[in-house]
Symmetry: C3
Subunit: 139 residues, 3 copies
């Protein structure tokens, strides 16, 4: 059994955002799966997805702080400048974090650990709405 749907996420400001509820709210079919896999794929190159702590919002702020220091804007070696100083760093961050997640389905729900949440990592200052393709297979 395959499920595939494109989901448009609401625009969010630059930073790391917990989207577990918004995403799973679009996937009531997961309840019917005893076992399976879910792929969550973001169809952009300046935003990314990751799994991290779902409790303290400071973790999300600290991720943003670290990535801004590790991949600074306005570096002299940067050649891709047409779309603003936040654009090339956004591409680099998205490759470091990755653009897709593979999450097991077990007993009708994602097999996430107690502290795991799904993050949208918005690397642009004004990224707008983001498209995600979710593909689930299971039985």
């Amino acid at each position: 059994m395959w499920i595939q749907k494109e989901i448009r996420l609401e625009p969010r400001p630059r930073g790391f955002h917990l989207i577990t509820e918004e995403l799973l709210g679009e996937l009531p079919e997961l309840r019917n799966l005893r076992v399976g896999m879910m792929n969550v794929f973001i169809m952009h190159t300046s935003a990314s997805l990751t799994i991290n702590e779902n409790a303290d919002p400071a973790v999300r702020q600290d991720l943003e702080s670290w990535f801004n220091r590790a991949v600074p804007e306005g570096e002299p070696w940067c050649r891709h400048r047409d779309e603003g100083p936040d654009d090339l760093p956004a591409h680099i961050k998205s490759s470091i974090l990755g653009n897709s997640l593979d999450i097991p389905i077990a007993g009708g729900r994602p097999g996430l650990g107690t502290w795991q949440g799904i993050y949208l990592c918005e690397h642009r200052n004004h990224g707008g709405s983001r498209s995600i393709m979710v593909t689930v297979q299971g039985e």
Copy 2:
């Protein structure tokens, strides 16, 4: 055909550890699969999984050295401090490396290259036992 099992890994000290043998020892069923995919998913946010060189232990030490320099402890911008100085860096490292691996199955075994091994990346000083969910599909 689906196989899904939760595996508890032995506690390991902070660092990068080769777990190929320990993991595959729990999955004798792979021998029966002509073709398939295996997802290995760590259910934590302060440890991660990666694939890297399975021979020289210096590679694993050097990965630990690089990550400790790239994501230092005790930075003034760090807000998430409650669980000790190694905690927030552990969350950042786990998002850089990622919490799951997808490995093809070919001819009854993982289609790893000659030099590829599966690593547990333990980012906490005292992370304890770690839970891994393995989901395999194939025929």
Copy 3:
């Protein structure tokens, strides 16, 4: 329905290279799949795969510039030195970027966004030909 094949990529110089066309040219079978998933797995530990912008070549040059600064050669803490100064940094870069991609298949083709392309990230000065295992499942 499963498809699995090993593809040898032409040798490329150190850097980030767009391989979408070369890879998909080997996979005409994708046209027959209404829905599915494709895993692309590089069988090496000193080269990696990522998805990023398929238009401006400056993005690929800037990725190389950033990674060379973030993971410099010849550091005093580096212990794995036998295979030359580019070898250990290549291992670190490959774990940061990852060695496999999971891409949804929708309507007979990869569900990539408009600006997404598949990159081979060659981290060695003389990496030679690289082997990729592609595993597709769908219906």
